[in-house]
Symmetry: C2
Subunit: 101 residues, 2 copies
Amino acid sequence: MYVVCVRVKVKPERVEEFLSAILDNARGTRQEPGNLRFDVLREEADATRFFLYEVYRTPEDFAAHQKTLHYLAWRDRVQDWMAEARVGVKHTSLFPPDRDW
Amino acid sequence: MYVVCVRVKVKPERVEEFLSAILDNARGTRQEPGNLRFDVLREEADATRFFLYEVYRTPEDFAAHQKTLHYLAWRDRVQDWMAEARVGVKHTSLFPPDRDW
């Protein structure tokens, strides 16, 4: 699997709007045939920090995601709400075996 | 859900041993009743960096994990193989709803 992990720090006054926007993106992404997960987490120690765990079958599925309307709408909508630049890190999976995702 | 994300940087000459050790820990953890996932990922840009995505039902389930033999054996086994201190960040989940994990 191809897993993209994104760390997000949101301006405190924009957290509620951010939550609405990221859930729209998550639900849209889960409809993509190449997407397996889109978990949205909130950091225990800082309620303005979020973590996105995005699982795609292949790098090409992630590239297709970045062309979808729900992704592009999200990207533009949240642009001014970030307190820090987003950090996205790409991974390949070692465990569990691909058949068990 | 209670999600622990751990970033690991391994000494290059210890990567193969680390892989064996982390897979033992992952398989053991998946047998815990309070554990839902233990994904082991490798960073695309740096083959000595790994990411662990550990999902527990509750913080108490994570605390129980940290007392298991497979966790303690792993912790001791890899101690000298780290190139940097491990970074673990705890989260609560917002999406998907708990029933869908």
